[in-house]
């Protein structure tokens, strides 16, 4: 396992799993368990390298498990379990001009999609958004595979000022012939992105990451409303038509265990303080 830290809360893990690297396609995800007592955490595949046999995950330390992993997953360690690739690969169809939108952590998983579209011969415009300049990552990776890259920051410290929706509007004003848009990020951002494209009738796919356990369609915990249907994100998705997704329902369901999550986080922070463990951050290892 290799690792890179993008900020205090965001880190990248490169996990060696040659078979999975061979099978992975853009849009798919994995489920990891960091230890035997751990949760099963769904994480979108941010990149894969078939030659090196690695799967790249970009993780934001938000809850107990992801923070714990931030401490425990260092170079040379291994995960208790990682299963995947799961979900339907994104259909990188016939689109000739594509807008790839990534917000925050969603910047990572949008990358293989942008690259995939490029390989299929599309003109690819990437819009990647961050809170501030210091959080920007992978800009050069996007530049190497996209025809245009628009960076947005909330405070204007890099690229244009504003959210990704501003960048999208800019791109659409420059190109009237965009025929597909893919947006990955927090639910609010994906909803915003879908609203930008809706008046133009641009097909917009979003990647959903609801609460999951097994990731194989068995528990139904990840069900989402798309149009008038109930779908399981793990096997029917995770990509869905952004104009059809019921984002209110998604966000309500994401908050399902917020009380337990907070309690677990609090308990964990206290135990860490008691053990006098200070999280190590900002130390790139690769």
């Amino acid at each position: 396992m290799a690792r890179e830290d993008f900020s205090d809360a965001t880190y990248l893990l490169e996990v060696h799993h040659p078979m999975m690297a061979k099978a992975a396609r853009p849009g798919q995800f994995v489920i990891v368990m960091s230890h035997e007592h751990g949760e099963r955490i769904p994480l979108t595949i941010a990149d894969y390298d078939r030659e090196d046999g690695t799967i790249t995950l970009v993780i934001q330390a938000v809850g107990k498990s992801t923070r714990e992993m931030q401490q425990s997953c260092t170079v040379g360690t291994s995960l208790y379990g990682m299963v995947g690739p799961m979900g339907m690969p994104s259909p990188l169809g016939q689109a000739s001009k594509v807008l790839c939108v990534g917000g925050g952590l969603g910047v990572a998983p949008i990358y293989p999609q942008a690259r995939g579209f490029k390989e299929n011969g599309a003109y690819v415009i990437a819009v990647i958004g961050f809170r501030t300049n210091s959080l920007v990552f992978w800009q050069e990776k996007f530049e190497s595979c996209c025809d245009e890259v628009i960076v947005c920051t909330d405070d204007g410290s890099a690229g244009i000022e504003g959210r990704v929706t501003e960048g999208m509007k800019l791109a659409i004003s420059r190109h009237a012939d965009i025929d597909e848009c893919v947006a990955i990020g927090p639910p609010v951002m994906m909803r915003g992105a879908a609203e930008v494209t809706r008046p133009y009738g641009i097909k917009t796919m979003v990647s959903l990451n609801p609460v999951m356990i097994d990731g194989t369609g068995m528990c139904g915990g990840c069900r989402v409303k798309v149009g008038d249907q109930v779908k399981f994100a793990c096997v029917d998705g995770p990509d869905f038509d952004g104009h059809q997704v019921d984002f209110d329902d998604l966000m309500a369901r994401l908050g399902r265990f917020s009380v337990e999550e907070k309690a677990a986080m609090k308990r964990w922070s206290e135990s860490c303080r008691m053990a006098q463990q200070v999280p190590e951050t900002g130390k790139p290892t690769e």
Binding site: M20, H37, V83, P85, G217, M218, R223, V259
Partner: protein, 502 residues
């Protein structure tokens, strides 16, 4: 045997089994039934008439030679009894606990025509438990064969198939998507009905047969069925992935946060140990008043799990009557003892919002039974104007499952219109060398039926590979002889592969 037993000479009463007191056991996850003591088992074994018809053997999906094992038990040849059972069923301690015996062996028992049937399940469990304590394992001499067999899914169907193929000398690898093997035995059936130690012990016997387990492997996505045959070098593949795509209610309020499938509840509790939260990281939805919709074994498990997790009130909401409930009689009885409140002939029409995205109650309608439907059961019909609300904060949906789509999405296998894998009578799929069985073929059924399917497929797989199968001669329905060879002769072998690679 000194004298022939008759229905009048055998012990008339079925030997009762000791159980944890209902008031006590709802507070723990320890096993409900203590199982027979040696004396009790010997007493009960006296009740078998050793009738020549042996209807129980035909009633068993894996054809355990029941009178034979009971005779040996009765003779205190416990090890012999164990060997008889494990000749056809590798998991006696599991099956003795979870089989619906009342519709299988015990349902057709000759003694049962007059008295209570022989408690075959409890006797099987007694032998299974004794084997675990004593560390017995039935490992026959295995003649190696040069074949590699891939099994998809480490549940009951896959394990039964794996055992038979391993005994035939094949190199068997079982792939499992979860991080632990066992399938429904592990994630579905709770500890108080089937302790994890029992699963571990009996699964351990598979490993002793040389079966390899590869967990965290999602077949279809990590590699496809086609790749298993074409690239990974498996000579034949068995698919036993289970049904597992839960049906939801399809009524308003279905996606509220307090509505979850029984699969999710049970997986959280059993596989992910949410009952030990926060020692384990996976949480459980809080529940004080629960409605479980459905009345199958899964529903009973879900109710009893909720009680043990501290729910004050648990309702069973079922649209038909008790007589139609698909659960084992014993499970309904246990649930009742533990305080589950049954709402028979009641159907949910809406899950009510508590105003914060959670469940505030469930609106139901009273049903009455009309004419029999396709399933032969009387069709429930709503009674007009009978809507009423039940005050609850969690809804667990246990109304069955649909076909899991992953194998269908990722292979060219033919599926039927419901998405289950299409097979012939002998469980061969549309793809040469690929066989399937269990819930992914039949839809949701029982552990033992899945095991029966796994064994049936194994027989066909051996024929496909040309392995000499001494247990079951190759036999084609309607064809008495082929090229002048009597197919029932036990020396008919289709293909012999050079054994140089062994």
């Amino acid at each position: 045997m000194a004298r022939k037993k008759t229905i009048r000479t055998i012990p008339q009463e079925r030997t009762p089994v000791a159980e944890q007191d209902p008031g006590e056991r709802v507070k723990n996850f320890a096993e409900v039934s203590h199982g027979y003591s040696t004396e009790e088992a010997l007493l009960e074994s006296e009740r078998c008439l050793m009738c020549p018809e042996q209807p129980c053997v035909a009633g068993c999906p894996v054809s355990v030679n029941i009178p034979d094992f009971i005779q040996r038990l009765s003779d205190k040849d416990y090890r012999g009894a164990y060997d008889v059972i494990t000749a056809t069923n590798l998991l006696p301690a599991v099956c003795g606990r979870v089989c619906p015996q009342e519709t299988q062996c015990e349902g057709v028992c000759t003694v049962g025509d007059t008295l209570e049937p022989v408690a075959v399940g409890r006797l099987e469990r007694f032998i299974g438990d004794m084997a675990i304590t004593a560390g017995w394992a039935s490992i026959p001499y295995i003649e190696p064969s040069p074949f590699r067999v891939g099994i998809v899914g480490a549940g009951p169907a896959g394990m039964a198939c794996a055992a038979d193929m391993a005994k035939a000398g094949c190199e068997v690898t079982v792939f499992e998507a979860f991080h632990e093997s066992g399938g429904v035995l592990r994630y579905g059936i709770p500890d108080f009905r089937l302790p994890n130690e029992v699963i571990d012990a009996e699964m351990g016997n598979l490993e002793k047969l040389g079966v390899n387990f590869e967990c965290n492997t999602l077949v279809g996505r990590l590699f496809t069925i086609e790749q298993m045959i074409d690239e990974l070098g498996f000579d034949t593949v068995f698919i036993g992935t289970g049904a597992g795509y839960p049906s939801m209610l399809g009524v308003p309020g279905d996606s509220l946060n307090g509505v979850l499938s029984a699969n999710e509840l049970l997986t959280r509790c059993n596989l992910m140990h949410a009952k030990e939260f926060p020692d384990y990281d996976t949480p459980m939805p809080p529940a004080k008043r629960v409605a479980v919709v459905g009345a199958g074994n899964t529903a009973m498990d879900a109710m009893r799990v909720c009680l043990r997790l501290g729910a004050d009130e648990v309702y069973c909401v079922y649209r038909r009557s008790r007589a139609e409930a698909p659960a084992r009689a014993e499970e309904v009885h246990h649930a009742e003892q533990e305080g589950v409140r049954f709402k028979w002939l009641t159907n949910p029409v809406e899950v009510l919002d508590d105003g914060e995205g959670g469940v505030g109650g469930i609106r139901c309608v009273q049903m009455e039974l009309g004419e029999p439907d396709d399933s032969g059961r009387r069709r429930p019909i709503p009674v007009a104007g009978s809507e009423h609300d039940i005050d609850i904060d969690l809804v667990v949906v246990a109304i069955g499952t649909n076909a899991n789509p992953i194998i269908g999405q990722t292979s060219r296998l033919a599926l039927n219109k419901w998405g289950y894998i299409e097979t012939d009578e002998q469980l061969a799929t549309s793809m040469p060398g690929v066989f399937a069985g269990g819930d992914i073929v039949t839809g949701a059924a029982t552990v033992i039926e899945a095991m029966g399917a796994g064994r049936k497929a194994a027989r066909r797989m051996k024929h496909y590979l040309g392995i000499h199968d001494v247990d079951t001669p190759y036999f084609v329905e309607g064809a008495e002889t082929l090229f002048g060879i009597d197919l029932r002769e036990r020396n008919f072998v289709r293909v012999r592969v050079p054994e140089s690679s062994v």
